[in-house]
């Protein structure tokens, strides 16, 4: 082990990082959109192999799932957006951010993790447009607080267990009052990083003022979520079981809040982002149930939400690229000229609503059952949030694709072969594993 990495993982991570830099250099000098897709494609392929081959012996933990989701996101964004995404700096930030997140996923050393927690923020510096000093302040203010909480927690852990450097050995920490404080600080850091209510303002500041593929990439990086799984959750289980109901309350409150807020957004991208936040809040509740099927459902749903919102946001970005920012003021009637895009968007929305026969149904079903067995009222709250999410997503579909088309304002958005392939593969996976979820669920379960 070096810095919490196994040799297996380093053998993949270092060449991947070098390949990414090389691709960026070549893209800068010669162009070629394939170069932007290659690093994410490699990461996705490795993650799939790791999930498939059950590489539990090398103690990957849940890293491959996170890598898979994030890599798929980058891959689809790279393919769907067809190299249209703003400046080179923004593209480079996205890919470097992916690599930095990848390094964070696979380390078991909390200090190395904290280092990548900070480093992954840096590419975001390049992306704030001018004139949004307030948004920048909110963004970095939140992340400074989260970082302070993380470092504070690590300091407390060092105090009670000097030399602690392996997150897998969290069970060996002494049972003292300070450990409880560490758990509390870690949960706080996770909630801020994951933009849970009431610490979500940074995310709003981010997606409204920057190119949103980058924002979503950063968010779906989920370092808060992985910290929660690797360190905060075991520590809570060990020292502060009585805090679980409060943490779960935070999850359900966030889910209900974001689901409701999605209904009043006037920008359609804000609706989708709010629904996404509500879905991620549901995952926290699943993890906190402390049951095997609750956690399995949460991880399964993590993949689902990642894939589904990758598709939705890619389509939305594509539309906004052509049409400009879409709002709820009128029905855009894009269906007439873009039937394929309309169908794809509708299917992703249905998957986001957890329609039976999509991946979302299986994961949500398990989470609901797990939560309701612990706290029935919280479970009903999650069900209400899910219902409202469905309404909000359908509203987006209606505003985008229904109504009469304005020929002058709404052009036809031609999907290239690449774009169709990227969206088609994700859709096929969502429906295939929705119709036959057992195999994938059993794979996910081995990581719980």
């Amino acid at each position: 082990m070096i810095w919490g990495y196994t040799y297996d993982n380093l053998e993949f991570l270092i060449p991947w990082a070098l390949l990414t830099l090389l691709c960026l250099y070549l893209y800068r000098s010669k162009g070629g959109k394939l170069l932007l897709i290659l690093p994410a494609g490699l990461a996705a392929a490795v993650a799939v192999l790791k999930v498939w081959l059950h590489t539990r012996d090398v103690q990957d933990g849940v890293g491959p799932f996170f890598l898979l989701t994030l890599a798929l996101l980058h891959l689809v964004i790279g393919m769907v957006l067809d190299a249209r995404a703003t400046s080179f700096a923004s593209k480079a930030s996205g890919l470097i951010g992916l690599v930095l997140h990848g390094f964070a996923y696979f380390t078991d050393n909390p200090f190395v993790f904290a280092l990548f927690w900070v480093l992954s923020l840096l590419p975001m510096l390049t992306a704030f447009r001018g004139g949004h000093a307030h948004a920048r302040l909110v963004f970095f203010g939140h992340h400074l607080v989260a970082l302070a909480a993380l470092l504070g927690a690590l300091a407390v852990i060092q105090r009670v267990a000097p030399g602690f450097s392996d997150m897998r050995a969290v069970g060996t920490l002494p049972h003292v009052a300070e450990t409880r404080w560490a758990a509390f600080l870690l949960v706080f850091a996770c909630l801020v990083r994951q933009a849970m209510f009431p610490f979500h303002l940074w995310f709003k500041a981010a997606y409204k003022t920057r190119p949103f593929p980058l924002s979503i990439g950063f968010y779906v990086g989920n370092l808060g979520f992985i910290l929660f799984i690797k360190l905060a959750l075991p520590l809570l289980t060990l020292e502060a079981r009585d805090l679980f109901p409060y943490a779960m309350a935070c999850g359900v409150l966030s889910a209900l809040y974001f689901a409701n807020m999605a209904l009043v957004q006037t920008r359609l991208r804000s609706v989708v982002f709010n629904v996404m936040l509500a879905q991620y809040a549901t995952l926290y509740c699943g993890l906190e149930t402390m049951t095997e099927f609750g956690r399995t459902g949460a991880l399964f749903q993590f993949l689902t939400v990642g894939c589904c919102f990758t598709g939705l946001l890619s389509c939305l970005y594509l539309i906004e690229w052509e049409v400009g920012e879409v709002r709820t003021g009128r029905f855009h009637g894009l269906q007439a000229a873009n039937p394929q895009l309309s169908l794809v968007f509708l299917l992703f929305s249905l998957a986001g609503m957890a329609l039976p026969a999509t991946m979302g149904f299986a994961g949500e079903d398990m989470i609901f059952h797990a939560v309701i067995e612990r706290h029935p009222v919280v479970g009903i709250g999650l069900i209400v949030a899910a219902a409202i999410n469905g309404i909000a997503l359908f509203r987006v579909v209606c505003f985008l694709f229904r109504g009469t088309r304005d020929d002058v304002l709404d052009p036809t958005i031609d999907l290239s072969w690449w774009q169709k392939a990227a969206l088609g593969v994700i859709l096929a996976a969502m429906f295939l594993f929705g119709l036959f979820p057992s195999w994938l669920l059993q794979q996910v379960h081995t990581y719980v």
Partner: protein, 443 residues
């Protein structure tokens, strides 16, 4: 091949057809209009033969399909179904109606832009309906229930160029999702309180309470949530007003969903849980009260409608409300008979509705002359001023839409909008425009 296997195989016919049709459409294969018609007829024929055979055998069958969602020793989602001759007969009636509608739609939607979309959604309905009728497990029932809801909403918005269709489909999905909370919460509570979602077991509430006395209160909650879930699809009070809006879709889908089958799923759901519901006297009273008040409401509103489909929609609600009352009175077979008879009559009326004007003036079988709609005798007993007021109130649907929009939705949305503005101010430093005084320049 045993009866169990035949029954299980019958459930796969529509799914197999659906998969084939979906693949052809996704592959952008040029499919003739006659293809989905023939395919659906084939599926209907196969199902009629199967259910007819099983109904004639007169035996109840319980089938548990292979583990669909399963993690060994950790979690299992059993696909449990139960065939009874009574439900089989209802399903046969449904299939006959579908066959008629398929034939009708072939001509009605000929060369229409959404021809294949319509038939695809019809096929999804075909796959989902048996799941609801024969489900012996709330989770399975929910799958069928949700799929029918989604197809219904997509068919309301079938004419995509009409903004009204979008608004009405949004109204319908809001009602559906709101009421579906009941079914999902019911499923979850069943797992919590009884550690099962099998309907046959849940229908023995006395045993459940004996086995799990600590969860006795939740069994009552389960009954309430099931009843709540049925209100949306059955368009019972206070969720009645969406049904008139649902008439925006093509006539065959209105006939299938809101004349015959989808709207009847509410009573079917109640029927499936009848022993559980009737175990609680308060629930029985509630069911009868909601059914009776919905019937009265639908009757009065129906009398004031001037559009044929609107009249038929409220007539359907009137009949469905009676079915709900029959469930509350414990009349099991009556409900099924009523469901089947009503479905046939209403489909006929819906399909004839487009010829109403022609029939009125040209068809000798119809009454000719000035339209005459006498008020019901109870209403005629009232003073004329009150009769007029009642008429106006009924014309406005007794303010049900107003109630939902102005008492429930608008205050809630206003509150959320304020919160959103606060968020924008905090996150982005955006000015609170709505509250800022308008300057001369801006004016």
């Amino acid at each position: 091949m045993s009866d169990h296997q035949i029954f299980a195989a019958a459930l796969l016919f529509p799914l197999g057809w659906l998969a084939l049709y979906a693949l052809l459409l996704i592959g952008q294969v040029r499919v003739r209009e006659s293809f989905p018609v023939a395919g659906l007829k084939l599926v209907v024929g196969a199902l009629v033969a199967t259910y007819g055979w099983l109904a004639l055998r007169g035996e109840a069958l319980a089938v548990s399909l292979p583990r669909w969602l399963w993690i060994p020793w950790v979690y299992e989602f059993p696909l449990e179904l139960r065939f009874t001759p009574a439900l089989g007969t209802a399903a046969l009636a449904m299939l006959l109606i579908v066959a008629v509608l398929v034939r009708y739609s072939e001509t009605y939607l000929h060369k229409e832009a959404g021809f294949h979309r319509f038939f695809f959604l019809f096929s999804v309905f075909m796959g989902a309906f048996p799941l609801v009728v024969f489900a012996d497990n709330i989770d399975v029932l929910f799958i069928g229930w949700e799929l029918i809801g989604v197809t219904s909403v997509l068919l309301i918005g079938f004419y995509e160029h009409r903004p009204k269709a979008a608004v009405h489909s949004w109204w319908a999905i809001t009602t559906y999702r709101f009421c579906d909370v009941g079914l999902l919460a019911g499923a979850a509570i069943a797992h919590y309180a009884a550690h099962t979602s099998n309907i046959s077991i849940l229908n023995r509430p006395a045993d459940l309470i004996l086995q799990h006395p600590e969860h006795a209160g939740w069994v009552g909650g389960l009954a309430f949530f099931i009843f709540f879930a049925s209100l949306g699809k059955a368009a019972q009070l206070p969720f009645t007003s969406w049904i008139a809006r649902a008439m925006e879709g093509p006539t065959p889908s209105s006939a299938l969903y809101y004349g015959a089958l989808s709207v009847g799923l509410g009573p079917i759901l109640l029927l499936k849980f009848q022993p559980l519901l009737l175990h609680f006297a308060w629930m029985q009273v509630l069911i009868i009260f909601v059914g009776a008040s919905s019937a009265l409401y639908a009757y009065l509103v129906c009398k004031t409608r001037s559009d044929a489909k609107g009249i038929l929609a409220y007539s359907a609600v009137f009949e469905v409300s009676f079915m709900v009352m029959e469930v509350g009175l414990g009349l099991y077979d009556w409900v099924i008979f009523h469901f089947v008879a009503h479905a046939f009559l209403r489909v006929l009326q819906f399909l004839r509705s487009m010829n109403a004007i022609h029939d009125f003036y040209e068809n000798p079988l119809f009454f000719r002359g000035a339209p005459h709609h006498p008020s019901p005798w109870v209403v005629r007993l009232l003073p004329p001023a009150m009769q007029r007021r009642l008429y106006h109130r009924a014309m406005n649907g007794f303010g049900l839409d107003w109630f939902w929009l102005n008492v429930v939705v608008r205050p809630w949305m206003d509150g959320l909008s304020q919160l959103n503005r606060l968020e924008n101010w905090l996150a982005l430093g955006e000015r609170w425009r709505e509250h800022a005084p308008i300057t001369e320049d801006e004016a």
